[in-house]
Symmetry: C2
Subunit: 406 residues, 2 copies
């Protein structure tokens, strides 16, 4: 008897018909001899309705009350799913966050899961009862409900899998797994059988929306084997696992992109100690995340150009902050551009192979694509390019790294 | 500083606009210096939607999971109401049943409230915080959610008022109070300023839908002063209070009616010990409530006719039960009729006045209305009549007992 956590997102449980579909999949795994915990999201659309109500009541609302309202979506699905499983003759019961409990740090609206007390759930699973846990919710130290941020049910599922010592956490979604690139853009993209935690983390961070970054971090930290697969098909998905489970490494496993990027350049910044702090301190205080940062070598007049990227949504605020801090920073001019995209190649094989980045630059140069900013990590190279070249770049790189399918 | 519990039903909080309206009423009471707890129902329509989902998932569903799903309606309103109060500059927080907790006996779908731990809520109210409690829900001994039956939020509110030692429990609804008779039928019906618990209980039991019977029982047992009033008008409502608060008693305070009645007659039942048990035992086992019972004096052949009433919804089942128990009971024939209505006159003044019932019978006789069954209690006389005469009977009795308004 091995333990399995099965997580179903909003589109997978969008209505009563879908809930019955999902219940049949759960039954198949139960019939195969697994002990099963199911983790559910709110039915598609429900969370938006609840959020709209809170926004209609008050523009600035209490995050604690937001959590009271919005966590009902998952509560509803957990009860309905338990009923649907019972209707198939299975023993099942719902679990709300406060019942286990799922302890969080109490930051309302975006809490972090600290610990799940899964002893009773585990004991009941061992007796054949299927646990259906409401995702996305937790219990704060002050005995109030918290939600753990949009898409947090992935994290709930991985945390429960860790607490239960589950063999695997299956994340059912509306795509069939993790692909070498977005198949809507790259026709020859292939589904990966396996991907490492580190690669998945970079893929998620660099724009692939298949799995929440936080869930990957939690899986990596607790060494939970995660499978991403579709609840709308029977095809096997992609396993996210430890590096040593993958026998033959590709140099590049996947290519990610994000159009949600904006570039800000400060012209002729005084090249003196403390200038970076003068720029990025105020941005951090304004809760603006800065991604890529590039500083050119100093000019003869001891000034330099400094470029960084933020999300498109943060661009206006970031420019305001920079303008407000002009006298502290000291620059000639601020330029900005939101017509840019970030394209990233990702693969743990890079560590042991030279020339990976230069092949990327060469491939883009061949297609006449100018690189505006470069940033690298141990297993990733990202470039910022003109947004109009995104599709061209993805397809060229997909081919260049031998990822094209048959 | 006196404590006030304010309860708002589904139509009073039907949408975000209504929630803001209600919040303004709460603010007016807070500004007047009261410590306030608000108890809310689900937004009108929400509970039906939730119940429909549970019915769609499975015909026979687990009552525990039903409670998980359906209790979300009140949870949503509690959070939204707290936000709306905060938006008016008040300090407010929501309370879910498991947070106080509201302890129940654990009968899912129709639990009874055993106890409310209101110490923390009371302490916070004393500091000016408005408590917003989700009605209709409780916590079972096994740490699972229970609901307390349709309309149970009235009971939640009265129970909280008792636990808090509140000066009054205001039940806001869509009518202006308790009337001497249904104003849709009796144009001269008047709103009562005050009514005793006992009268209110009989009014509720005999068909007046303004307040849940269980809530009245709880108010009577804990001597909670209840006011029934409209959230759609500023008019004062009806106070439900102890008898000694009412200086001048009417002989008859109100007239109630119910068309949801069916009459069953067993002809020529053997008049022997144990026959009543043979009839009503099986009905009780089938969960059928019997209301009025009349047994005629024995005929020469030692048989008698026995008549009783059930709700219209129970009529078919009741006849089946009686047919099934024919050999044990022993009767010649079973007759039934659902074209009947029950009309009741109610008033604590009856205790000290003779001739109240005979005036009822005389008034009905004058109008040519035949009485089929009579049943009486200390403060009530009920008669079963042909349903077609309901309006005529109500107006005639209303006039006869001097209840007609100007």
């Amino acid at each position: 008897m091995s333990r399995l956590v099965m997580k179903f997102g909003g589109t997978s449980v969008a209505d009563v018909g879908r809930i019955h579909e999902v219940a049949r999949r759960v039954k198949a795994e139960a019939d195969a001899g697994h002990e099963i915990a199911v983790v559910v999201s709110a039915m598609a659309g429900t969370t938006d309705q609840l959020i709209n109500w809170t926004a209609d009541v008050a523009n600035l609302h209490d995050a604690r009350e937001f959590d009271v309202v919005v966590s009902t979506g998952e509560q509803i699905t957990s009860g309905l799913m338990a009923m649907a499983l019972q209707d198939l003759g299975l023993t099942a019961r719902s679990w709300l966050a406060w019942q286990l409990p799922v302890r969080t740090d109490g930051v309302h609206g975006s809490a972090r899961i600290l610990d799940i007390e899964a002893a009773e759930v585990g004991a009941r699973m061992a007796k054949g009862e299927i646990a259906v846990m409401a995702g996305y919710q937790g219990l704060a130290p002050d005995n109030r409900l918290t939600t753990i941020g949009r898409g947090g049910t992935d994290t709930s599922a991985v945390a429960l899998a860790a607490a239960l010592g589950a063999e695997r956490c299956d994340i059912y979604t509306d795509v069939e797994g993790v692909f070498t690139a977005d198949p809507r853009i790259v026709a020859k993209a292939r589904k990966l059988d396996k991907i490492t935690y580190e690669e998945m983390l970079e893929m998620a961070s660099q724009g692939a929306k298949v799995l929440q970054t936080r869930a990957v971090v939690m899986a990596m930290n607790h060494r939970v084997r995660v499978q991403v697969l579709s609840s709308f098909s029977e095809a096997p998905g992609t396993l996210v696992v430890d590096e040593d489970e993958i026998v033959e490494q590709q140099i590049v496993s996947g290519i990610a992109y994000s159009r949600d990027e904006a570039k800000i350049t400060l012209r002729r910044v005084a090249d003196r100690p403390g200038v970076a702090a003068a720029i990025f301190g105020p941005l951090a205080e304004a809760n603006i995340n800065v991604d890529m940062i590039v500083q050119n070598v100093s000019e003869d007049d001891e000034t330099t150009d400094l470029t960084f990227t933020v999300t498109e949504a943060d661009l206006d605020d970031a420019v305001k902050v920079i303008n407000g801090a002009r006298s502290e920073i000291g620059y000639e001019e601020v330029l900005y551009d939101n017509g840019v995209a970030k394209v990233s190649i990702i693969g743990v094989g890079m560590r042991s192979h030279a020339g990976v980045a230069s092949r990327m630059f060469g491939t883009l140069a061949e297609k006449g694509i100018n690189i505006e900013v470069i940033s690298t990590s141990e297993i990733k190279v990202s470039v910022l390019i003109n947004e109009e070249y995104t599709e061209l770049a993805l397809r060229a790189l997909h081919h260049a790294y031998g990822l094209d399918g048959a």
